[in-house]
Amino acid sequence: MNLDVRLPMGLLFAIIGVILLVHGFTADQAIYDNHSLGININVRWGGVILAFGAFMLFLARKKKS
């Protein structure tokens, strides 16, 4: 197909991952005590989402070359 879905998808998740990471490192830690059992879920899961996005971009690139 003309547009590989992994390209926009990889970009979208990579951007969301970065946003979560930045927010996780800068936000007040109190939000984690109030919500996510004291775990900084933004940093941890932001990392996972960034990795997923990067993997999708890698697959899209690999297919192209």
């Binding site: 197909m1 879905v5 926009p8 946003i19 936000a27």
Partner: protein, 598 residues
């Protein structure tokens, strides 16, 4: 309330109730809005890019039959994974515990494997562009038009219900912090976004967005389940609390087993016994949905070749099999939190004074997700509402354009004209959906009534398809009048039975002719109604077919009926890429899961 999925119509009996008191508030920050905004920008951008590649009506309605199996499979599953499923299954997880997994492990997997191995060769191989068109090739014009009309009405209606539920949910959870976000704004906003990406990119755009939505749900819900489980003391902690809860409900152990309490209808919270469950849900309703509903079949028909089309539903069955962990567990976690007591979970109370489990998902989002993740969770939820709408709209514009417009109104339409008609239909379909949303808002009765009628029409469907594909002697008259007979059987059955002893007879609940039997739950009534409708249609189709002349020659039926079609050979593909091998692996997996959680 997912109408095209009778299985779900049974499971989730009401849309998220916004009128309930003790409402859940999601407090968003700038970062959450940023994530939502980026998602919407991508959705629209994808449609816009795809528009450049779109040339023929086949590109617009069938993705040019060019997509790889894995994309079709995720689209297949994504189209089914609407928000009503996500929220409804969590509610059922709370109401019924682990036995909710029946909607997956016997209510979906066997049918998905069956359609891939046995039925897809006829859908894909016949060159039909839609399920109604297959009926035209196999039976006759009237059977096709009957199916096309009922299907078209159901899809716009179903998309309207999605719209309505999304507007209610946004209004209830965000309305007090964002004053301008009222019901009308939500309807207009979701309608316009879906309109833009389908108008421009057609089916491909819808499928791509379903793929993205699939990953959003998985990545957005996995941490929710992780945090929830950790909070209630892990799996064992949750099981202990579920045990205490089921003791308190008078059904010890019923929440932590899938089959062990299915011996009698009174022994489990579903109020269903194993035979009604296996035949009604596992066979009639599930096969009727997964094997005949054009909304999902359309995704498989967009595949690039026969092997991919056949593998689509089977590959889709793998995530489907694992979804209970994402969509049912939140409901069970909610029960464990209720059992924990105190302020553990804040669920709304319905006007009737009962806990409203339909709001389990938003309640858990508000509880466990800090700003940032909250934006992701809400994006996943909104994405699944919108792809629920989009799936229906793409199926609607295809059936309208090919089966009704091109067939009855303007048979000479050029290809460019068909694409234009598809786009106009998208606009009209969304306008009608909005109309349905407002109707639902005004009157729940009209919605319940319509849903009931669709239930009558859908129940016997699989009998006609089964006989059409596997018995070459079945005729057009047989199928058409068989379907009518099945529908009438469903109505009569409904008129003669009541869901529970405490229900008053009514047009919507049943018992409007006379009360001959009383069930233990509306689910049991529904399953048995499906069994009767199927049997009625099956027998009537056989009898009428034998009494009428065959209206198609063997030559015309080649490629449409099992005995007249050369068997598809998949020896060319590697062993793991053969539909039959994959299907066997998936079925074995489903058996193992049933045994583990017995």
């Amino acid at each position: 309330m997912h109408l095209l999925n009778p299985v779900l119509a049974v499971a989730a009996e009401s849309a998220p109730a916004a009128a309930a008191s003790n409402s859940i508030l999601l407090k968003l920050a700038t970062v959450d809005y940023a994530i939502l905004a980026i998602y919407f920008a991508f959705v629209i951008g994808i449609g816009w890019v795809l528009k450049r590649y779109l040339k023929t009506s086949s590109d617009y309605f069938e993705s040019g039959r060019s997509l790889p199996a894995w994309i079709c499979a995720l689209g297949f599953i994504g189209a089914n994974l609407g928000a009503q499923e996500v929220m409804g299954m969590a509610a059922s997880g709370a109401k019924y515990g682990i036995s909710t997994s029946h909607f997956y492990w016997i209510g979906a997997i066997p049918a998905m494997v069956f359609v891939g191995i046995f039925m897809m060769p006829f859908y894909y191989g016949s060159k039909a562009r839609s399920v109604p068109e297959y009926l035209k090739l196999r039976f006759d014009e009237k059977t096709r038009t009957f199916n096309a009309l009922t299907f078209a009405v159901m899809t716009v209606f179903s998309s309207g219900i999605s719209m309505h539920a999304l507007a209610l949910l946004l209004n209830a959870t965000l309305g007090s912090s964002i004053p301008w976000l009222n019901y009308h704004v939500c309807i207009a906003f979701s309608g316009v976004i879906v309109l833009i990406y389908i108008y421009t990119g057609g089916l491909t755009s819808a499928i791509y967005n379903e793929v993205i939505q699939f990953f959003l749900i998985v990545l957005g819900f996995a941490p929710l389940v992780f945090l929830g489980l950790k909070d209630v003391g892990g799996w064992d902690g949750m099981m202990t609390k579920l045990g205490l809860y089921s003791n308190a409900q008078g059904m010890p152990g019923a929440w932590s087993h899938s089959w062990a309490h299915m011996g009698t209808a009174t022994g489990n919270p579903m109020g269903v016994e194993w035979f009604g469950l296996a035949m009604g849900l596992g066979f009639v309703l599930s096969f009727g949905y997964w094997c005949t509903d054009f909304l999902v079949i359309q995704r498989a028909m967009a595949a690039k070749d026969m092997n991919s089309a056949r593998r689509t539903p089977i590959i889709a069955a793998i995530p489907k099999m694992l979804f209970p962990a994402l969509v049912i567990l939140p409901g069970m976690i909610a029960i464990a939190l209720v059992q924990k007591g105190g302020n553990s979970i804040n669920l709304p109370i319905t006007p009737g004074g009962e806990t409203d489990f339909n709001m389990v998902v938003p309640a858990l989002l508000a509880k466990y997700f800090p700003t940032g993740m909250l934006g992701l969770g809400l994006t996943a939820l909104m994405a699944s509402f919108m792809s629920g709408m989009a799936g229906n709209v793409t199926a609607f514009n295809t059936v309208w354009t090919y089966d009704l417009y091109h067939n009855h109104i303007n048979p000479k339409a050029t290809d460019a004209k068909l694409v234009r008609m598809g786009r106009i239909t998208t606009v009209v379909g969304l306008l009608i959906s909005a109309g349905c949303a407002y109707t639902a808002r005004e009157s729940n009765n009209i919605m319940d009534m319509l849903q009931l009628v669709f239930g009558f029409v859908n129940a016997p469907l699989f009998a006609a398809f089964l006989l059409g594909m596997f018995w070459r002697r079945s005729t057009g008259h047989g199928a058409f009048y068989g379907l009518i007979t099945g529908t009438v059987c469903a109505m009569i059955f409904h008129g003669l039975t009541l869901p529970t002893a405490t229900t008053a007879p009514s047009l919507i609940k049943g018992g409007w002719i006379s009360i001959q039997h009383t069930f233990t739950s509306s689910m049991a009534q529904n399953f048995w109604m499906a069994i009767f409708a199927f049997t009625g249609c099956f027998i009537a189709t056989i009898v009428i077919s034998l009494a009428t002349k065959a209206n198609k020659t063997d030559d015309e039926l080649r490629g449409l009926v099992y005995s007249l079609t050369p068997k598809t050979k998949d020896e060319s593909a590697a062993w793991y890429a053969r539909p039959a091998t994959l299907g066997a692996i998936v079925l074995a997996g489903a058996v193992v899961l049933n045994v583990i959680f017995w």
